[in-house]
Subunit: 590 residues, 2 copies
Amino acid sequence: MITSLNDLFVRTLREDPADAFFPSHRWLVRAGYIRPVAPGIYSWMPLGLRVLRKIEDIVREEFDQMGAQEVRFPGLLPREPYQITGRWTEYGDNLFRLKDRKQADMLLGPTHEEMFTLMAKDVVQSYKDLPLTLYQIQTKYRDEARPRAGLLRGREFVMKDSYSFDMDDAGLRASYLAHREAYIRIFDRLGFDYRIVKADAGAMGGSASEEFLALAENGEDTFAYSPGGYAANVEAVTIPAPEPVDASDTPAAQVADTPDVPTIAALVALSNERYPRPDRPWEASDTLKNVVIKVRELDGSSYPLVIGVPGDREVDEKRLEVALAPAQFEPFTEADFAAYPELIPGYIGPVRGSEKVLGEGGSAGVKYLTDPRVVPGTRWVTGANEAGKHVYNLVAGRDFVSDGVLDTAEVRTGDPSPDGSGPLTLARGIEIGHIFQLGRKYAAALDLKVLDQNGKLVTVTMGSYGLGVSRAVAAIAESTADDKGLSWPREVAPYDVLVLATGKDQAIFDAARTLAEQLDAANVAVLLDDRKASPGVKFTDSEVLGIPTVVVLGRAFAAGNIEIRDRATGNIREVAYTAALSEILAEIQH
Amino acid sequence: MITSLNDLFVRTLREDPADAFFPSHRWLVRAGYIRPVAPGIYSWMPLGLRVLRKIEDIVREEFDQMGAQEVRFPGLLPREPYQITGRWTEYGDNLFRLKDRKQADMLLGPTHEEMFTLMAKDVVQSYKDLPLTLYQIQTKYRDEARPRAGLLRGREFVMKDSYSFDMDDAGLRASYLAHREAYIRIFDRLGFDYRIVKADAGAMGGSASEEFLALAENGEDTFAYSPGGYAANVEAVTIPAPEPVDASDTPAAQVADTPDVPTIAALVALSNERYPRPDRPWEASDTLKNVVIKVRELDGSSYPLVIGVPGDREVDEKRLEVALAPAQFEPFTEADFAAYPELIPGYIGPVRGSEKVLGEGGSAGVKYLTDPRVVPGTRWVTGANEAGKHVYNLVAGRDFVSDGVLDTAEVRTGDPSPDGSGPLTLARGIEIGHIFQLGRKYAAALDLKVLDQNGKLVTVTMGSYGLGVSRAVAAIAESTADDKGLSWPREVAPYDVLVLATGKDQAIFDAARTLAEQLDAANVAVLLDDRKASPGVKFTDSEVLGIPTVVVLGRAFAAGNIEIRDRATGNIREVAYTAALSEILAEIQH
């Protein structure tokens, strides 16, 4: 059946939507693929739904192929299982909660770990039933604080989520690798330029968790990679600690007046002016900045924490979030400072003279963790715990110790790579997949045990694997759209070919329809633009809609020719109408 | 790819679930197709999901074929559009409502009239864009007071809902008929034994709204049909009013003592004993029962209503519900009686002597509506508005009048049909589809207008069409399951053929796998039961699972034979293994 643009339910917009800062968002709305309904919530129009379903089909194909079995959980779920695992609380405001007419607590599923675990528990009984992989392609809900970027970060979205169930770690590792391979096949088919990066530090630097990031300038995720092949989300980068430094020649620590230095830059400038260092100028990296935050535990209790980082770096909030999870952090307020009078804003440091201030046993009664770079022997300019004074040549290990290491300073291009292969480079991407060796957390909480070969009950170990299906629509658009509109890779395009007739000659329109019918008969998904509209409107729309191949019947038709335009490259070639069908088929099958 | 029961994620249960009173519910759970998660909320396991998706595919095929275009709306919706149309309130407790983190009111979509209307408004501009039909296959939410019967009445369910948009009534009628035809094709393909019945009275007896009911003894819907082809949901049956009766010979009304008659039967018995009627005994249908209820309007206000019905009939609550909608009704409590002292329970009637009690201007100040059978001239035994007294020979029109007609008495087999073709017969069914000429209600509320051929803005007229996809899974199971388990029609079966190997002979298992592979290569969806389990377990499971064709390789294999069993008929025939493939293919294609 041929769809004509006269009939297709679509309307392209000439203006950008007001809130669309991302190309994918802008063009998916302008081209009539999706429409906003509420912040982070979208309706799918026919063209968008075709792309979504093509991606779903590819995911389903690859998952069926790997032997995973498809199930489908409800979106609306009872509280109990999430209560047992603690996630009813842990999810915080990100969880949509509601009460039913009988006042029972319910939630909209953000992920379904609990449900998968319980379903497996219902069915599997012994080692003979494992390994097992279940998946679903389903609608999920998260009440994001800042829904943005269209489908890239929505509050209702479509995900493929899957779980593997194994008897032991070796089985989990095999299931994990099978998923990794399936993801690679899927993202290759979807035409992504992507990187697989470590998603958490992992014990022993193993790959217990990896993210698939589609490269994108606008990507929300920043990752670092090394010449030697190391690649990790910045949250997962672990900074290798330098070797200890010999501090035997370092002069004794000395407190000095440092008035009016509200910033590290001012402190450095003043230091170079008043207390010049003999060997070289002071730099920001010579200072030890002590940042104080409040850590909020899950049970609601909180405590203050001072983080010491080299003064040339900020604490990276995302890295801090991951490092503290599941605890959260909050700003340290004036009221908090009032409660801890030993902490003098701008002049916080580990010691006051020979008195320990920060860390265990310190007078401030505040926990103190330092950056991995603060190794024994390193010397620092840092707060002297007196207003208007800093201390110089304060040596780690000699003059102060912290309570431990916290690796949350920002990662920068040029930083040494953990794999020792050279400097790190930073790049950005969109998370399109995440695979994770979850282990026994949910199986233990929900008592998923099976009999092993010796008839002993053992707790199952699980892997957790997410793939953003609706996000993939946007991520593909993000990486392929240009300044004229969408430009779909053929594998996910809503239609293969747009046949476009222009002019007033009925013969052209007849020929266009004939060609469309021939393509349709050859199993090509074809869209026909036989509207009574100006050529300008039609060409503009053809670019906005992003159908990969556009066939134009217009002026050249008088000479018996048509144009075949490639949307992505912009290439145009003229071929004889009589050869059109075979030429187009060759083009789209190549 | 061949699925073996060794690997398939399924576990059959030997016991009925405690709350399963419907065969479909019982067997879908026992056969491992679905699992309950919360009241009215189910998870789909692999076998169930395969059936669901087959039905989805059939619906999609027929809808694409009719030129409808698929879209998909969110499940989570903002309040505003539903506020505009009043449904935010009208839906009452059936609507799942929630607040997001910013305290914005949201809801889980029960149906999407508002969203379809707004999307059409976004795209269509003139008569050239119409007619238009949009559909979605999507998850819906209704907080049913009594979720029951498994998937038949759930709180989360999958529906196909579609809407037609037309310029005028003739267009709407054409769109309606196109849908009607598509529904007929779909339900025929799904193998339903169904009836199309009028769903509301409709002006002029037109077919403004029809339901598709799958015949089922357990069905929630009761419908009536006549020898002449009339068929209507009982809620939609209109009782033809009899001709007025000549009451010139009827004696004057007379009040008489009727102590201790708590029921109509007692009243009739006492009447026959004390006040025998000369021509024939009194019957229940000679009495006029006055039922008092409280009507609750949408705005929360309420008023009492007395309904007069012949004493041999109850007021049918479903018919009453439909007749009063969108108002609702509540029981008339003791406190209510206290507030209306003129209403004496058990002795309510239209008059006290010559004084009007019920109806406009009556002393009770209570509205009074009567059954269509209460035509002028009919005589009644009814309450005399004094404790222990009834009035005899009270003639409608002569001795009392009501405020109008309310047709809510129960409909019975044998009642005259509205089409005059003879007596009605009652039967029960499950509503699997509903088509409805909605008209301009939503288009007017949400201002969906388009330019007509004269450049004038006109309000679009809409049709609304629902089809229960997940309910269809259960309805098919309901009508095909037997006392041994499920029994799927081939078009929706999760697998076409179950190849079952029994015994200890490896050659049988090898032959079974070979046959399964041949079937798979011939594009037959095949399930292989090569488990190490007893023949009894395997045969029982084969019946529980309901795969339409079961091929058994067992004892007969020694003689080179296999059995082909038809699950539905129980027919078994033995064929040579060498002929197995062609025999099976012939069987499943027939």
